[in-house]
Symmetry: C2
Subunit: 493 residues, 2 copies
């Protein structure tokens, strides 16, 4: 993959160039002042279908409807008999005014079809869906999973129609919650990437940008559908979900072994990551976090970072290879077939998460520790993912969003407010399966190699890694991304 | 797969039928008194090549040479420049008498070629090797990995020659050590399965049986090459290596959390499994272990068993699916390409294994506890694997050997004598990678679901699982297998 091919032209929106670590990327900033341009972006489209009412479907259908303000019809399509009909009705969609209906009827009646059903459902139903699409429809995805699945099956999208993607870099709940806050603070939202897989109409770029602006994305950057699923599936298995889960499990145990009470250990591991560490990185970047530490804490951070970075690098490389080879997608499909017999278990019955519930009850957010060891481990694994994505040639916007911003601005705040079990159980099935698979790997490798290296090393190993951290190009990238960040933190109800 | 197709004819050896859980299997018992028949079994073969000097290669080359006593030539073939030349010379193979040489020259000069190089090397070199084989050679494997790899590549074995397998159900070190003891106790050895993938000569069955008898297998049963790699790769990822590793990690932590010292926790987890539990199952079977417990311990066992069995069943199903879909084989190949940059780390630097080293120093084998909770967890996961293999249609001999006998008679005794790190680092790369991948999954799922179920359940759940355990057909299978077991325990030097 090269980032050179990712430039694009738009006559509807105002493209800007940003320079990230020496590479130029075309981007479009969002905001409510652009909603007037949406009809022009969607020229030729009279009706947009949102298929599915999962976290993304429900958020996107409402954002699109509210942004378009009746200038285009937004219709929700659900499987016949789906239990989500009631929820869609409660959100204002209705069979009576033709904004809610059975999915195949809705697909056949729409010019643009946003397919936001689960990955497993996409794999199961895609042939029937392709058959129901109008011959000149625009097919929209929010994730490259289906491309990965089709590739693995030796199949492809129907020729003759546009295939585009807009992929918000956050959970569906954040996509809706921040959009709502955008009424007060123009520009609040979740960044998104867009991709054009097939452009028969010549209108694919404008439609994708219109979709992204309508969702409320503060800024939209371009990627490819393949690049998207490689980084997205890898990221959620690594630092975004699986990695952070494994990190906090290993740290909690370590702190308890060192004599902390269960509540203290929880504060210094889970609460520290999802609270002060994430908040600091969100506003000041990784370097800002590091610079905020005093000398003693900075040394603790550095020792932890140097030990954890190789774990992050090794495991993110392994995950990336597994995604690239199709193994992860095959695993998700296989797991889907087993779920009826072996439902996914909950993680929150284990002693650690029970202790966490008690700890959360008495939590004083302002008094939470920015534990420097925990910060070093978290940032080390995160940087391992960043360097993997750089090595694989992903655009910097994608790297920064899939490795840092989605964690600090979307997932970790939810985890902080609702607990890890909530987070792990409110992502997509694909993400939940991936997290269950990879979290234990991060835990074991940190416990087997990183912590012994910290505890038993005698020499000044890793000075080169600390220097590489201090001078890393990601800091400048995050600084520029932060300039485009809306001045509002995510609000978790 | 059906077991009906696995009957076979031999005129050289004495086939017997055993009935295991209502299904009839043809088997051949081994013993040194049969070595006189080997030339007849190998009719048409003047020279047998053993390619590779790993654990299996070194053990099999020596056993074959010693069993044949010069009646056929056994030649070791190694990669040019291999550091194993010295070890092969030390074991009595020599360039001077033509029993040691460069592998491709040896292959080209041999009638029967036993390919015992690593899985990664087989994947890398198989085309060159196929090209070097004589057109009427017999190709021998000790593992179905290459079939899995070829299938996944859309490739196949060269037509026109025999392809057979003899797969000892134990580590190479056990194959040699027990064979040596066979000089004192006729019949000592490691059971083996055999498979006939291609039989052009019509002599494939006799050659496979001859090979197995020459290795010292107490009894030899038939399987298919595909059935072999499905059960072998699954088994080593589950109870044989990955599963047992994850079990003892989770138990050690649990016992420490309950207030045991590190040494006590190690005794009740690792030492209990690899010592008294394995020894008892080896001689008396799973039911014998259960019956040996007093009423109070039996209740503890049952509670642990009932909670752990679903974990074993779920994860063994997942592993089986992953192996069946080719994911595990692809993962091994991908990992092989990463190993130069990311070498496999050692597991023995973590606190638990350091504590284990200290615990082993003061160990009194006779005083080790047969901890009933640990026994229940171990047997529960083991039975989950047994039931998975039964459901998938494997022959009972394969099920018993790949789920129980290989653990209790080969792997666990080594682990007991040398430590877990030794075991995990002395299996094949394929097994070591699989163990690193799956051990943490067993640990997490036991910790997240099984132990909370034990600690917080109030009702009499699981009486049906206990009854199913008590009446399980595997007990009768193990009883019959035990009758064919040589009256000698493995001796670990």
């Amino acid at each position: 993959m090269t980032t050179n091919d990712l430039d694009f032209r738009t006559t509807v929106f105002d493209k800007e160039y940003i320079t990230l670590a020496g590479t130029r990327e075309g981007i479009v900033r969002g905001g409510r002042h652009l909603f007037d341009r949406l009809p022009q972006a969607f020229e030729g489209v009279d009706q947009i279908a949102v298929i599915g009412w999962g976290p993304q479907g429900s958020a996107q259908a409402q954002n699109l409807r509210d942004s378009l303000g009746g200038r285009l019809k937004v219709v929700v399509g659900l499987r016949a008999g789906s239990s989500s009909f009631a929820a869609a009705r409660a959100a204002g969609f209705s069979e009576d005014d033709g904004t809610l209906g059975e999915m195949f009827a809705v697909i056949a009646a729409s010019d643009m079809v946003l397919l936001l059903i689960s990955d497993a459902a996409q794999a199961e139903l895609h042939e029937e869906i392709f058959g129901a699409l109008r011959p000149d429809a625009t097919l929209g995805l929010s994730h490259g999973f289906l491309l990965g699945y089709l590739t693995q099956q030796g199949s492809h999208f129907p020729t003759g129609l546009d295939v585009i993607a807009v992929c918000p870099k956050g959970m569906g709940a954040s996509v809706r919650a921040l959009y709502v806050q955008g009424a007060e603070t123009n520009g609040a939202g979740i960044n998104a990437s867009f991709a054009v897989e097939q452009n028969v109409s010549g209108r694919a770029v404008e439609r994708a940008l219109g979709w992204s602006v309508a969702l409320g994305a503060p800024y939209t950057f371009r990627t490819t559908l393949r690049s998207e699923y490689l980084s997205d599936l890898t990221g959620e298995r690594a630092i975004l979900l699986g990695g952070v889960h494994g990190i906090v499990e290993s740290l909690y145990r370590r702190f308890e072994d060192q004599g902390m009470s269960a509540t203290e250990a929880y504060r210094h591991s889970v609460d520290a990551v999802t609270g002060p560490i994430s908040r600091t990185v969100s506003t000041d970047g990784l370097l800002g976090l590091y610079q905020r530490l005093d000398d003693a804490d900075r040394e603790v951070f550095a020792r932890a970072y140097v030990a954890a970075y190789p774990v992050g690098l090794e495991l993110t490389h392994e995950i990336y290879d597994e995604v690239d080879a199709g193994n992860e997608i095959r695993s998700v499909i296989l797991a889907g077939k087993r779920l009826a017999r072996f439902p996914m278990g909950r993680i929150d019955r284990a002693e650690m998460w029970r202790a966490g519930e008690i700890a959360r009850e008495s939590r004083d957010d302002k008094a939470l520790p920015l534990d420097p060891f925990t910060a070093g481990v978290f940032c080390g694994v995160m940087m391992g993912q960043i360097d993997t994505f750089i090595e694989k040639g992903h655009p910097y916007s994608e790297i920064a969003n899939e490795s840092v911003i989605e964690a600090t601005d979307s997932l970790n705040p939810y985890m902080h407010a609702r607990g890890v079990a909530y987070m792990v159980d409110n992502c997509s099935t694909t993400a939940r399966l991936g997290s269950r698979k990879w979290a234990p790997r991060f835990d074991y490798l940190l416990t087997q190699t990183a912590y012994p290296a910290v505890d038993h090393s005698t020499s000044e190993l890793g000075a080169d890694l600390v220097k590489a951290f201090e001078e890393h190009p990601i800091h400048e990238v995050l600084r520029i991304c932060a300039q485009m960040r809306p001045p509002v933190d995510i609000f978790v109800q």
